[in-house]
């Protein structure tokens, strides 16, 4: 389903594969190498550096963005896969009325320290609440385990998400993780859940 993306905000030509992406509601027309990841396209070709590269291997979650409302790891997603898709990054989260409630609650609860993983944490958290997976502290811990934080702000991240989820009420439908033993040490060794590797 192609959208009419008239008047691209910026045209970038560094390859021969054409793609039109809507990023944070703005159209971009790009000609890139077909192998360019969504992460590199955002950072290197659209000037959107809020999305971070922490590993480039799909293991840290710092590059989490939304494609058509679903959270994806942009380092494992090709930009060309997002042709005609709606991409939302941390820069597009705030509305006209101000920051997203999660952006504010992360500040209030000190849900970060160095801040490098924060855009990915927040993008995951927004999706988590929309998915109805933020109904308990254990759920949040489990479903946020694909986003690493080396500063160790996890407890505050959980508090920030739970505050918004509780106010939101959207997550009331689900109260426990899908059979996962939240909080178990084995969680670190299991595939880190929650974020799709690709579309």
């Amino acid at each position: 389903m192609a959208k009419a993306l008239s008047r691209p905000r910026r045209t970038q030509v560094v390859g021969d594969t054409p793609m039109e992406l809507s990023v944070n509601g703005r159209p971009y027309k790009l000609y890139l190498d077909a192998r360019v990841t969504l992460l590199d396209a955002l950072r290197d070709h659209m000037g959107l550096t809020g999305t971070k590269k922490g590993c480039d291997q799909g293991a840290c979650g710092a590059c989490t963005v939304h494609v058509n409302g679903r959270r994806v790891l942009s380092c494992l997603t090709l930009a060309a896969q997002c042709d005609d898709q709606e991409v939302t990054t941390i820069e597009g989260l705030a509305g006209a009325e101000g920051p997203h409630p999660l952006q504010e609650s992360f500040v209030r609860h000190d849900g970060f320290q160095c801040g490098f993983c924060t855009p990915g944490q927040i993008m995951s958290a927004v999706a988590l609440i929309q998915e109805g997976r933020a109904g308990s502290d254990d759920d949040v811990r489990e479903y946020m385990s694909g986003n690493l934080c080396r500063c160790g702000a996890y407890a505050n991240i959980v508090a920030a998400i739970r505050e918004v989820a509780s106010a939101d009420g959207a997550s009331a439908g689900r109260t426990s993780a899908d059979g996962a033993s939240a909080g178990s040490a084995s969680a670190a060794r299991a595939p880190r859940g929650g974020t799709d590797a690709s579309l």
Binding site: E91, V107, R108, C114, G115, C117, C151, A185
Partner: protein, 735 residues
């Protein structure tokens, strides 16, 4: 002296001043900077751990699309090493000869128009090695041993005799593996030469040192070099040195005449920017039946690279941990074909405390004395070496308040005695004393004619909250509202600052900021000294208080003037004053300078059948002196605690002994705690402002990590009856 009116900003748990920027994705980290016309560099690293390069063929790489140049040891100019600092030498200059000293050593740099072209071209370089068998094990007879590298070995009393006469003795060996700092932010450097002026965006904890290093290596004046690091994506010690990749990026920019950007890959982060070195520690503790210590003998060996240095005196702190008449500490290193270790959050203390506090638990168990009680019976009321009173020490309160909060009294001392269904429950604890560290620092304060303030220093905020707490200190000392004060950092053009490291920055910087701000008040009072109409005429600093952007008379608080009125009347656009701080002299003050103290209480749950270990809760009771911001200080403690959980249960950089190659250099294979590994973390701050510094602070950036590993190991013993003396503790050891 305090000039401030209530309510002070200092101490309040205010939100981070950079919070909105970080949560909006608007904080620019070193990898986020780009400049027009920049080229990209990519590194090629050695695939052998020892030997020499016999041939290196770069022709194909040089002919590849977009490639500007290929730099190897053959075309790298002779470069001097950077200057040594008070925390050690600079890494050896890169690409100076054909020798290979570790796997992952940089052997070539490709500079190309795009990152992809540079990376692709590295694969076209053909390197031929004459490889030799690497030294990778402590027990390799070829391994060179370095005794007492830092001159910190200590001895008091008569350890041998005391141990011979002890009622009870415990003696054990503890091992800790290589850990890798692994900040989330990939280290990045962007170097821009403009004639002989150099601007560098770099992942560093220490712009002032980076400037001095680059100036020396590239033979330009320090005034020609500017290093910028407004935001750093974590570092945990790995940003304390100017590593070889930084030198190579600056060199590449000079050789190509283009701005050059280099971002390390995650695997390269394991070999290029340091790590916590593996260590072996032998401890013997002797005690009387009453629990009174008679002797401690603590000896350590850590790994270090072939031709570099690292500060890791694992045993040194055992000399001052307890009141004990006879103590010997010995620290040494062995040289291996490894990439060089460096400080990683709580260097030396993180490993040394694991051994000492595990051994203490073993002693308590042997004596049949409660582990907490045993620590209280050997409490060091005064500094055990100098005999001087501490500048502050509330470790007893840490023990008491922490135990109360945790419910330590519910602990049944017998191992395997507490159970909840399939889970064995274990309670463990550890005591911590973090070393005092202070270094000179400078800061600059400006009050503008509109009454706003701008304060700065070339420090970094690696996530600790420096932006925020220094804004608070500035606001209080000047008496200007928080939202009218901006504190800036991360720029070597600002007054020189020490590193964000050693838990020493907050004390040094806050004192310098205070000095600069007091200087502004003093100079503003000088301005009105001749003003006939000013109520402040003739007032000295001690005669005034500040608040609401005004200076008031202390004796008549309703009489005063605003900064804005005074500066405007005198035709001044601003008043700027520099401030400084320097470490005090303990003997002159008659005090032993204290770092932070803490007590850690941990509950673990171990699956009785599967051995799965889970940390259910951690209580950290911390004496951090005066806490400048309850919110960010708590974050430091919980963050350190998570690092300690990683050290205890997950983290191990695995090096293949035969090849010297790191076998798990990714985030998929090198495990760090994830959200689901971290449960209930409770933090209590106890104690009083430290007496040795004007603001009474003690650094809290590292103490949160220390003690976690021992407390977990002790809790695992309590849960299972199995004593694990080697980190990380994994479930296979409990089956």
């Amino acid at each position: 002296m305090s000039l401030v009116e209530a309510p002070p900003a200092i101490g309040a748990g205010i939100d981070r001043v950079d919070g909105a920027r970080k949560t909006a994705g608007a904080a620019a980290y070193p990898s986020d900077f780009d400049v027009h016309g920049q080229a990209h560099a990519a590194l090629l690293q050695s695939t052998v751990a020892a030997g020499r390069i016999t041939a290196i063929d770069t022709a194909e790489a040089e002919a590849a699309p977009g490639v500007l140049t290929v730099i190897t040891h053959r075309n790298t100019p002779r470069l001097p090493d950077g200057p040594a600092t008070d925390i050690g030498t600079s890494p050896p200059a890169p690409l100076q000869d054909e020798r290979i000293l570790h796997h992952g050593q940089h052997v070539a740099v490709v500079v190309a128009e795009t990152r992809e072209q540079a990376v692709a071209a590295t694969r076209l370089i053909k390197v031929t090695y004459d490889a030799s068998e690497p030294v990778t094990r402590f027990d390799d007879p070829r391994a060179e041993r370095v005794d007492d590298p830092w001159g910190m070995d200590s001895e008091r009393g008569a350890v041998e005799e005391a141990l011979a006469s002890a009622d009870v003795k415990v003696s054990a060996t503890y091992t800790t593996p290589d850990n890798t700092n692994n900040p989330l932010g990939l280290f990045a450097t962007l170097a821009v030469w403009d004639r002989n002026t150099l601007t560098v965006h770099d992942t560093t904890q220490w712009p002032t040192m980076a400037r001095a290093t680059l100036a020396k290596v590239f033979d330009v004046p320090e005034s020609a070099v500017r290093v910028l690091a407004p935001y750093v994506g974590g570092a945990f010690g790995s940003g304390l040195r100017v590593w070889q990749h930084v030198i190579l990026t600056v060199l590449a920019a000079r050789m190509t005449g283009r701005p050059v950007k280099l971002v390390l890959t995650r695997p390269q982060m394991f070999t290029s920017v340091g790590h916590r070195p593996s260590g072996v520690q032998h401890i013997t503790i002797g005690a009387k039946r009453s629990g009174e210590l008679v002797a401690i003998d603590h000896r350590s060996t850590s790994s270090v690279a072939m031709e570099d240095d690292d500060f890791e005196p694992l045993a040194a702190s055992s000399a001052v941990a307890y009141a004990c008449p006879s103590v010997i500490t010995r620290d040494g290193q062995v040289r291996l074909n490894i990439s060089n270790p460096t400080s990683m959050r709580a260097p030396a203390e993180g490993q040394g405390n694991f051994a000492l506090e595990s051994a203490f638990d073993e002693l308590a168990h042997t004596l049949g004395i409660d582990p907490l009680e045993l620590r209280l019976r050997n409490y060091a009321e005064r500094h055990p070496v100098s005999g001087m009173p501490w500048s502050s020490k509330a470790l007893r309160e840490c023990y008491e308040a922490g135990a109360e909060r945790f419910g330590w009294s519910r602990r049944d001392p017998a191992p395997r005695s507490m159970r909840d269904g399939d889970e064995l429950i274990g309670y463990g604890m550890a005591g911590v004393g973090y070393p005092w560290y202070a270094v000179p620092c400078r800061a600059r304060a400006t009050v503008n004619a509109d009454g706003s303030a701008f304060v700065r220093s070339a420090a970094t905020d690696i996530g600790t909250g420096t932006y925020t707490v220094m804004t608070q200190v500035s606001a209080d000392v000047l008496g200007i509202a928080l939202d009218r004060v901006r504190f800036d950092l991360g720029d070597s053009d600002m007054p020189p600052s020490p590193q964000a490291g050693g838990s020493g920055l907050t004390g040094a910087l806050a004192t310098a900021v205070r000095d600069a701000c007091l200087g502004v008040v003093r100079r503003v009072l000088d301005l009105v000294s001749e003003d006939a109409g000013s109520p402040l005429r003739g007032c000295a600093l001690e005669d005034v208080i500040v608040g609401n952007g005004r200076i008031h008379r202390r004796d008549r608080p309703d009489e005063g003037e605003s900064y804005a009125d005074i500066l405007t009347r005198h035709g001044r656009q601003e008043m700027t004053v520099d401030g400084a701080s320097a470490p005090g002299d303990p003997s002159a003050l008659g005090m032993a300078f204290a770092g932070a103290f803490g007590a850690k209480f941990v509950e673990v749950r171990v699956d009785a059948d599967l051995g799965v270990i889970r940390v259910a809760r951690v209580v950290s009771a911390i004496d951090g002196g005066r806490i400048l911001n309850e919110k960010t200080a708590r974050s430091q403690i919980i963050g350190g605690t998570v690092g300690g959980i990683g050290q205890a249960l997950f983290e191990e950089t695995v090096t293949d002994a035969r090849t010297g190659r790191i076998a798990n250099a990714t985030f998929g294979d090198y495990l760090i705690p994830v959200n689901a590994d971290v449960a209930d973390l409770d933090v209590l701050f106890v104690g009083e402002p430290d007496r040795a510094t004007p603001l009474g602070t003690k650094g809290v950036g590292e103490i949160g990590l220390v003690g976690v590993a021992a407390a977990i190991a002790n809790a695992v013993h309590h849960a299972t009856g199995i004593r694990i003396r080697s980190l990380p503790i994994t479930l296979d050891e409990l089956l």
